[in-house]
């Protein structure tokens, strides 16, 4: 890049659509990432969900950048300076490429600032650093460049005042569909967005990220070449690479894969009732252990009652009989940016259930169905959460809670034993006691 090009690029960065695009990315990026931080599958303290959240934010950021690029590409036509610029010795493609580069560079720098600020919050508290999250974030940048190039191409080719808003909506809505699971499976991997709801405990193969990187770069290259080159056959090169990468992604059917290291259990070792969290969530152990132990204390003295709490995220890889009888902890929401846990009861601050448990039983489905109210009552008593219950179950629960504490525990002990052996006559008696 020579001095003149640098000067022109600097001018475009300061006076073109780039500063507006960059400001939009900064503002929208911080708002979106702030909202995702502690929400379901939030990125507080976790790298892979951070990477997936950055990719999901491209739904809005990419649409804004594509619209800005379309607006920038139509500037010469709007200002009626095309002929004037065309009369100079400067090649006609240069203003187009410099305009696209300025919007892409400005918005990429703004996104880097957003990612950097979020990473600075995750780094001090994260308990697991693996999972190839870096590559997921890296792919976001060619993804942004590809959307920007497509916007610039349409802005250059279509002389309409509506091209920028239509580009914005046309980029945004299909990505809503991709995240929502609409359309063929391969579209998930040809769009730059990723759903963070898939991220906790999972990872994406580095080869998939590499193929996406090549795909988005080639799409950007093809869009730019369509305008800049007079020799049309040259377009075959980036277009061929794009088709090859897309074909590989389509044929290899990529999936989120279980990250075994992330879901290994890390347990408390201080003798009290054991609380085990996955390595991914273990930064919450100090805050969650008292909460889980408080729930386990409720069961004290009941034979066969759970005496261990386990992070439910571990279930995606392994879940043995011991875990089945444990209290389950759902920690995908509620983590704070400082690495603590914001919840104090059975529900997270966002209203999601944190503590869950279901009686272990050998009963067949039909029998469980018949005594469903008892199972619901036992769960509601065990997790002490205000949950909506069927009217029958609510009546039973009210009757159980009206008993003295000792009788409640006695009833629960007999229920656990009957559920485990599926003793239908005892289950019927227990129901009778609550009528």
């Amino acid at each position: 890049m020579n001095r003149t090009t640098r000067r022109v690029l600097r001018t475009e960065l300061l006076r073109g659509a780039a500063p507006v695009a960059a400001a939009g990315v900064l503002l929208a990026g911080f708002l979106i990432m702030g909202a995702f931080a502690g929400d379901w599958a939030g990125w507080s303290g976790r790298w892979t969900p951070l990477a997936a959240s950055v990719r999901l934010s491209l739904m809005a950021l990419g649409a804004l950048v594509a619209a800005a690029a379309a607006w920038q590409a139509g500037r010469e036509r709007r200002r009626r300076t095309s002929d004037q610029i065309g009369s100079t010795s400067r090649p006609g493609w240069q203003p187009f490429v410099v305009g696209w580069a300025s919007v892409t560079l400005g918005s990429s720098v703004a996104m880097l600032v957003v990612v950097g600020a979020c990473a600075a919050l995750v780094a001090p508290v994260a308990s697991y650093g693996g999972g190839g999250w870096v590559w997921m974030i890296v792919v976001a940048f060619p993804g942004l460049a590809a959307l920007s190039a497509l916007g610039a191409l349409l802005g250059r080719l279509i002389p309409s005042r509506l091209v920028a808003p239509v580009v914005a909506v046309a980029v945004y809505l299909p990505m809503v569909g991709v995240v929502d699971g609409a359309g063929p499976g391969v579209t998930r991997w040809l769009a730059p967005v990723l759903s963070p709801y898939d991220a906790p405990g999972y990872t994406i193969d580095a080869a998939v990220s590499l193929a996406q990187f090549v795909w988005f770069s080639a799409v950007a290259g093809t869009a730019i070449m369509l305008i800049v080159t007079a020799q049309r056959w040259l377009i075959v090169v980036p277009a061929g690479i794009a088709v090859g990468a897309a074909a590989w992604l389509a044929s290899s059917s990529p999936q989120w894969e279980v990250d075994r290291a992330a879901v290994e259990l890390v347990c408390t070792e201080d003798g009290s009732p054991e609380v085990c969290l996955t390595r991914l969530n273990s930064f919450l152990l100090d805050d969650v252990a008292p909460l889980a132990r408080g729930a386990l204390a409720h069961w004290e003295g009941i034979p066969g009652a759970p005496d261990r709490a386990v992070d439910e995220t571990a279930q995606i890889d392994h879940w043995d009989a011991e875990d089945e009888a444990s209290v389950r902890l759902t920690l995908t929401s509620g983590a704070t940016l400082s690495g603590g846990y914001a919840g104090s009861g059975a529900r997270s601050p966002h209203g999601w259930e944190v503590i869950d448990w279901w009686p272990a039983t050998t009963c067949a489905g039909a029998v469980t169905e018949q005594h469903w109210s008892l199972f619901e009552v036992a769960t509601a008593w065990g997790i002490q959460a205000d949950a909506w219950l069927e009217p029958d179950s609510q009546r039973y629960l009210d009757a159980l809670m009206a008993m003295p504490a000792k009788d409640q525990k006695n009833w629960m002990g007999r229920f656990l034993a009957a559920a485990e052996t599926c003793d239908e006559s005892v289950l019927a008696t227990l129901a009778e006691e609550l009528r």
């Binding site: 809005a60 808003p165 909506v169």
Partner: protein, 226 residues
């Protein structure tokens, strides 16, 4: 005996001239503002929204009426974005120098745009009007019209769509899930009809935006038009 009216009949000629006097300028004005194209676009958006809403609700893993949230937020936004280009003229400063009651005409623009988009979208949402259907589509139409009307005096008609789009794009992603009625003051495009706060915010946006646009008009564009 029946009278024969010839082309030279002075009464007919007067009527025709009166019609032409009233309608032709209005048609020219509408065409200059790109309204015929916008109307076609709005009809296309309504049909596409109808198809999408039907597909979203009837697909295999549908969660019911909730599945229509993207349509309820997206269709009014897209329709208003298409119509927003007509809020300003080719040469706003030149237009303002003419002896026309621009405030009345601006009010007509806003009301006409709201009615047209509202009617087109309400028609497609009548099956379950109170569960992400006609009521929410009408409410969001008012809200987005208010937003573009408020933006036009600041950014001009060509960029009046930007705040509405950016707002909807961010809110759709950032709104707490499940959608809480306590957050209705800023998540109004995603709320169910029962959220009174969402309706209040939308009415305030519509009244405020309309008043601002009627008083000030769209900011004159710096660039030539396409």
């Amino acid at each position: 005996m029946t009278s024969v009216v010839t082309p030279l009949d002075p009464r007919r000629d007067q009527r025709a001239r009166s019609f032409a006097h009233r309608v032709a300028p209005a048609w020219l004005h509408a065409r200059a503002r790109g309204i015929p194209l916008a109307v076609l676009g709005i009809v296309a958006v309504a049909l596409a929204a109808w198809w999408c809403a039907d597909w979203l609700v009837h697909r295999e893993w549908s969660t019911g009426a909730d599945s229509r949230v993207p349509v309820v937020a997206g269709a009014p936004l897209l329709a208003v974005v298409l119509a927003s280009a007509g809020l300003g003229g080719q040469d706003e400063e030149l237009e303002r120098s003419t002896a026309v009651r621009w405030r009345v005409r601006r009010l007509g623009h806003i009301l006409g745009m709201t009615l047209l988009i509202g009617c087109a979208l309400v028609l497609i949402g009548l099956w379950e009007p109170r569960e992400y259907g006609a009521f929410e589509l009408a409410r969001n139409t008012l809200g987005f019209v208010g937003l573009v009307a408020a933006s036009a005096p600041v950014l001009g008609s060509r960029l009046a769509w930007v705040p509405s789009f950016a707002y909807a794009a961010v809110v759709y992603l950032a709104a707490p899930k499940p959608i809480l009625t306590e957050a209705a003051w800023w998540t109004w495009p995603l709320q169910q009809w029962g959220a009174d706060l969402a309706v209040l915010v939308v009415v305030a946006l519509f009244v405020g935006g309309t008043a601002l646009y009627v008083m000030k008009g769209a900011r004159p564009a710096r660039d030539a038009d396409e």
